[in-house]
């Protein structure tokens, strides 16, 4: 079976932010970019958009810098988790993340991040063009290969 990962295909992303709204709604019952755990970076004039979210690193820099060991990688599902009871809001993880995937909750003042929604990510469900997919860990490479080989037949798939 193997572990699943959240794979991004930036070519399919249209910048609609359905994923962002799905996330904040699922986690905080409101629609708010600030309260989501993933974001869309848009370069409007060039028509470019891409999701930015936690990559659930194998050696997470956030885990390394946390002074109270509130962050750990769950060995069962690979999710990098923040223990909200331990978090002191020092923001070291916020600053160290290479993707900017950690945010500081405006009200609680502690670090929050993507937890892959207990194995059923809401953002993936919301993404109709399938720019976000929750796939078997061996698949991401094969998605790219599938796209490349299809190009030889001059077919652009969804």
């Amino acid at each position: 079976m193997g572990r699943r990962v959240l794979a991004i295909d930036t070519n399919r992303c249209t910048g609609c932010k359905a994923c962002v709204m799905a996330c904040s709604f699922a986690k905080e019952k409101v629609f708010s970019e600030a309260k989501a755990r993933l974001w869309i970076v848009r370069a409007e004039r060039q028509g470019i958009a891409t999701p930015v979210l936690c990559e659930q690193c194998e050696s997470p820099p956030c885990e390394l810098v946390c002074p109270v060991r509130a962050i750990s990688k769950n060995p069962m599902n690979g999710v990098v988790e923040i223990d909200s009871n331990r978090c002191i809001g020092c923001k070291e993880c916020f600053w160290i993340c290479p993707f900017g995937a950690v945010s500081i909750d405006v009200e609680k003042r502690i670090a929050v991040k993507c937890d892959l929604c207990d194995g059923s990510p809401e953002c993936v469900k919301a993404c109709v063009p399938r720019a976000l997919q929750y796939v078997n860990a061996v698949r991401p490479a094969s998605i790219r290969m599938e796209k490349q080989s299809m190009k030889r037949f001059d077919v652009v798939r969804r």
Partner: protein, 631 residues
């Protein structure tokens, strides 16, 4: 915002307004009815320009990111409701605002800066004269944030070109009718918004369930899928095969080789670089295309959409992908509606062909059909009102034909209201013919797009069967039952616009329907409504819009179609010989007014009908002005 006195007032949106007029387009209509007097100059301080984000804009309701722009239109001097996508409306909602109402005229160029609750009128002298992209870039730099959302005009709006548009987020236009010129007349260059707040719905669980079901329906829908892959222009080839594509100023309905101006060409020839979605849209029909070789290498722009390809390409005869992308980019950046621009240039080309416009009028330019040079030279001239020809065409095809005379009104593709017709061959699309004739802003598809009459999907046929009792009525060649079909689409479209939904989801895909719109509205606002109640609200809204026109002196005589389509039969294709004759139109109009409960002679809503819709005060005002039909 009182731009004359540079003063800002804020008011809460009341529950009553929500309940009666839903939001966005509906509330805009009520506001503009209350705030305006008849017979005002569309470029004067008494014209009111209103922006309204959808009730559901900013939520995860699929395809609910649209904003309505309402004013007295520059082309028609009648009601203008325009609509723009992008992300601007959502940002406005996150800032805590639903509507922006602009009164008066500013002495100097200004822009409005909405930074969450804080609203400020800023000097925009340094932005005046800049193209749309440049305005977006400079304003974002000035305000120090690439994430703000900007709605702005280009030079065309500043120069009061009658079909100048307002651009949301660089690529999404409130295109038709000259809202950009009205904005320019107020010297309002741009509205920049930063919204970082929360949006809540009253019943999150139930809202979420409906949203999930609607999302699934849209994801499975073939029309929606096709829109994502090939865009709105993916349907051009099919339309052409049915002889319904206007070409050479509506003289032909079909091209031999339509491929260069299709969505398929954009994808297959690698002009398409990105698919773009408005806020919360699961379809994402918008395009970003680039030309990377040839004389226009380096050109990139949002689109081209179906209408842009049809107008700038088929209608002018310029069947050239690269040239049309270039023309589209020019229109977008100058802030010109592509539909009117193509139509007015096509008219000028026919004038040139007939010798009514000569080379002496065009500084030696050969204004020939099919000439990319002519097309690309004319667009900037129009935007700048440069040379007598640019200035003439900038007035729109109706005024230009009136000025030029020599029977040129016979090939001016606008109706008596004055808006250029959008690129639909109504001679062989009778439902569209009726919808175009009755549209308060003029003959286009963005009032009651009766797509179902084509019977090109199972959902479409099912809807026609529901409305007429007979699935065989799903044929655009029939005139029977067109009033019933148009009326349903009108009501549904009013609800669609007011909630912030995109009509592609509700009137082309039909995945978003009155039932699920009513549910989403109820669970979001806490104001319970079922499908018949929400459709009644839609009816109330469009009836109020009609009353605005009645108040301006419009009557049945303005519910017509362009001279060519009423008098010259379609020359080729499956619709050959068909015409939108007055007799045929009158028959459909009689039934349409009857269904609405409007006076058949004048087309005016009766006191009884207005009372039934809760618009008694509107009836009273019309009676005082002597505009209510005697009963």
């Amino acid at each position: 915002m009182d731009l004359t006195r540079q003063k800002i007032h804020t008011k809460p949106l009341t529950d009553d307004l929500r309940g009666e007029f839903l939001g966005s387009r509906g509330v805009n209509a009520k506001l503009i009815w209350d705030l305006m007097r008849p017979d005002t100059d569309c470029f004067g301080p008494d014209n009111v320009l209103i922006f309204g984000a959808g009730t559901l804009t900013g939520t995860n309701a699929p395809c609910s990111g649209r904003t309505t722009v309402t004013c007295k239109g520059a082309e028609t001097n009648l009601y203008l409701k325009g609509s723009m996508g992008g992300h601007w409306g959502a940002e406005l909602k996150f800032a805590g605002y639903d509507h922006l109402v602009f009164l008066g005229v500013s002495q100097k160029p200004v822009c409005l800066w909405i930074d969450n609750e804080r609203v400020e009128i800023r000097d925009a002298t340094n932005l005046w004269g800049k193209n749309v992209e440049e305005t977006d870039k400079v304003l974002k730099e000035e305000l120090g944030d690439e994430d703000i959302k900007i709605a702005c005009i280009g030079p065309a709006g500043e120069n009061l070109v009658r079909f100048a548009m307002i651009m949301s987020c660089v690529h999404h236009a409130a295109g038709r009718g000259g809202a950009g010129a009205v904005m320019g007349s107020k010297r309002l260059k741009a509205i920049a918004v930063r919204g970082e707040g929360d949006i809540r719905v009253k019943e999150p669980e139930r809202f979420g369930l409906v949203v999930g079901a609607v999302r699934e329906a849209l994801a499975a829908d073939n029309t929606a899928k096709s829109m994502y892959v090939y865009g709105t222009s993916g349907g051009l080839a099919f339309t052409n095969s049915l002889g319904r594509l206007p070409c050479y100023n509506f003289r032909l309905g079909q091209l031999e080789n339509v491929y260069p101006i299709t969505g398929q060409c954009l994808v297959e020839q690698r002009y398409l670089k990105r698919r773009i979605g408005c806020f919360g849209c699961t379809i994402s029909c918008h395009r970003y295309s680039m030309v990377e070789s040839g004389p226009y290498s380096g050109t990139g722009c949002g689109g081209p959409e179906y209408e842009s390809f049809a107008s700038l390409g088929a209608d002018t005869g310029v069947i050239d992908t690269q040239a049309v992308i270039k023309a589209n980019q020019l229109c977008n950046d100058f802030g010109l509606d592509t539909i009117s621009t193509g139509s007015v240039i096509a008219w000028a080309m026919e004038c040139f062909e007939k010798g009514v416009i000569a080379k002496t009028d065009t500084r030696g330019l050969e204004l020939n059909f099919g000439s990319a040079e002519a097309l690309l030279t004319m667009v900037p001239l129009i935007a700048r009102r440069a040379d007598s020809i640019g200035n003439l065409l900038a007035e729109g095809v109706k005024r230009a034909a009136e000025k030029l005379g020599k029977d040129s009104r016979k090939w001016a593709i606008c109706n008596s209201k004055g808006l250029e017709q959008s690129m639909v061959e109504t001679r062989c699309s009778k439902g569209y013919a009726l919808a175009f004739a009755v549209n308060p802003r003029g003959p286009d598809h963005l009032h009651a797009c009766p797509w179902a009459e084509r019977g090109s999907s199972t959902e479409a046929i099912a809807l026609v069967e529901k409305l007429t009792g007979n699935r065989k009525c799903a044929s655009p060649y029939l005139t029977e039952y067109r009033p019933e079909i148009v009326r349903w689409h009108e009501d549904c479209y009013a609800v669609t616009d007011s909630l912030g939904f995109c009509m592609i989801a509700s009137l082309t895909s039909y995945s978003i329907n009155p039932k699920n719109m009513a549910k989403m509205f109820s669970f979001a606002t806490g104001h319970p409504m079922d499908d018949s109640e929400i459709m009644l609200a839609g009816r109330r809204i469009l009836t109020l819009e009609k009353c605005f026109n009645v108040r301006e002196g419009a009557d049945r005589k303005l519910d017509d179609l362009p001279w060519r389509l009423m008098n010259e039969p379609a020359p080729t294709g499956p619709g050959k010989g068909l015409v939108n004759s007055k007799e045929e139109l009158d028959k459909m109009l009689d039934k349409y007014y009857l269904l609405h409960g409007w006076d058949q002679r004048s087309g005016t809503p009766t006191r009884e009908t207005l009372g039934m819709l809760g618009l008694k005060d509107v009836a009273d005002e019309l009676r005082k002005l002597g505009k209510l039909p005697a009963h």
